[in-house]
Symmetry: C2
Subunit: 143 residues, 2 copies
DNA sequence: GTACGTGCAAAATGTTTGCATCATT
DNA sequence: AATGATGCAAACATTTTGCACGTAC
């Protein structure tokens, strides 16, 4: 669908076929891919594409707020085109990142008390951008 | 202090001077240093030390559960010798990681409802190891 | 037409590995 | 004495950069 074009224009991003393909692949993916995984997903359907462009594009999209870089512990970045507040489960074995279903996640996030966040801002002299909750877990082998 | 030796022995870790120096520097640091920062902190007081040893040691300490690797978004790992439950503020500008004062952090973490966590375990078929709350923030320039 | 995006290859950065030597147990 | 840790340098993986060319506006 072509509302990507309008979305890009609203954010003053040039609508190149590479950028659109990268963004749409990330948006439609549920796997929070790495830059390289994304490159491999998009490359077959795009006649000219280099990995450097994937990095440049992801950078531009982050800058524009359309994409988020997710924190990882293995030195290799993962990306998410869903910038709404939602929780992640990080598999300690594989490094894979999965979304927690909206209705469960919001039950956790909604109970974070705003006044405590305000106190943290005051105590640490920062402006909170957002709170990211990550659940570290292993695949359950007991069931 | 030398309880590091006993701590290591309890975890079946060899007590080399490099390992002890690295661990103690990390434990006494409040800056959640990168491997290289740690190397620079420890090197001057240790006659033989290489960066590879810092990586190997941090790996062994993580394995033993004495140290934790923190998630970051810039592909460069940071470490923490405080493995108790506590919150981090990540500076979006510098990548720096700061601890949230214990009494404030526990006000957030203690309100995470256990039954929701149990539901997440069931729904996603995982065993939760721990919940990590990261606050993304900027240095407050309005004050 | 101009400004910006792209591909490619090279460089920079962060981390891991192989191997001979050395230290701890 | 045996096992495992160390230093060093080389390999590796991920990300960034410089530059000539191409494309969107």
């Amino acid at each position: 669908m072509s509302c990507t074009r309008e979305l890009f224009q609203r954010h003053h991003l040039r609508c190149t076929k590479q950028r659109m393909a990268i963004y749409e692949a990330l948006r439609d993916s549920h796997s929070h891919p790495t830059a390289e995984a994304l490159f491999n997903m998009v490359k077959p359907n795009t006649d000219r594409l280099s990995l450097a462009t994937v990095y440049n594009t992801l950078d531009a999209l982050c800058e524009a707020g359309l994409v988020r870089k997710l924190p990882t512990t293995n030195g290799c970045c993962r990306f998410d085109a869903d910038t709404s507040h939602h929780l992640h489960v990080r598999c300690l074995e594989s490094g894979e990142i999965m979304d927690v279903p909206e209705e469960l996640g919001s039950q956790l996030v909604d109970r974070l008390p705003a006044e405590v966040l305000a106190q943290i801002e005051k105590a640490m002299n920062v402006k909170i951008d957002r709170v990211q909750v990550q659940i570290m877990a292993r695949t359950d082998t007991t069931r």
